[in-house]
Symmetry: C2
């Protein structure tokens, strides 16, 4: 297992990159807009992991509402696993609450699910199984 990414909600992607890239020195891999989640994402490389900066494209999106309620800051931790089905089964057997009971698949073929912060001690945790693994 490894940290795939740490997601950070930001007010504005360009301003946020002023800190993370220009001041701290991380490299911007690319940006993309996720229309389903209504969010613009900046992908920054850090060692074997990434920091993903999430700027809502509408205030009504999940991330937009989070930003209005909680302010900018760390949003979720994504842990990369080898076998997401086995990991989810293992979690269910320990009565850990999953937000989606069946893995979703993104446009890159990554299978993912979220674990409810109620079951983790306040941290929204995402699991990733990369395509082809």
């Amino acid at each position: 297992m490894k940290i795939n990414h740490l997601a950070v909600v930001v007010e504005n992607l360009d301003s946020a990159m002023g800190f993370w890239c220009d001041a701290l020195g991380l490299e911007l891999q690319h940006t993309e807009v996720n229309n389903e989640e209504q969010v613009k994402i900046g992908f920054l490389t850090i060692g074997e992991s990434r920091i993903e900066l999430l700027e809502p494209t509408t205030p009504d999106s999940g991330i937009g509402k989070y930003l209005a309620k909680r302010g900018a800051g760390m949003h979720h931790l994504c842990v990369e696993v080898e076998d997401i089905d086995r990991a989810m089964q293992h979690l269910r057997e320990r009565h850990i609450e999953l937000i989606n009971e069946v893995p979703k698949t993104n446009h890159e073929g990554t299978r993912y699910c979220f674990i409810h912060p109620r079951s983790t001690g306040g941290v929204l945790v995402e699991l990733y199984q990369l395509a082809g693994k």
Copy 2:
């Protein structure tokens, strides 16, 4: 640069390890008590990084007050750099607010400083330069 650790504030270290170790499958490296910070820490290995679980040993400690005010959850992100003096100078030149202007040194010889969340977009960021580097 890489993620050295992600620090998570927990109500109770043993309960928290029920999720992070037993359910999620991370390995506990060791635990230690930091008397200065009044916190008990569980160090979990995840790839090249760690998750550090912080349980306050008194409600009056910094972490105890954080827990009472904000609840359990992600507390700070620690980024490992090669040269902390150069990194801090670079940040100062960009008017980034440092919490300690001079690096502190822990019992392992790691030099560290904190960057104020006001300057990062809501994330408390720690910098580490490991001993001997």
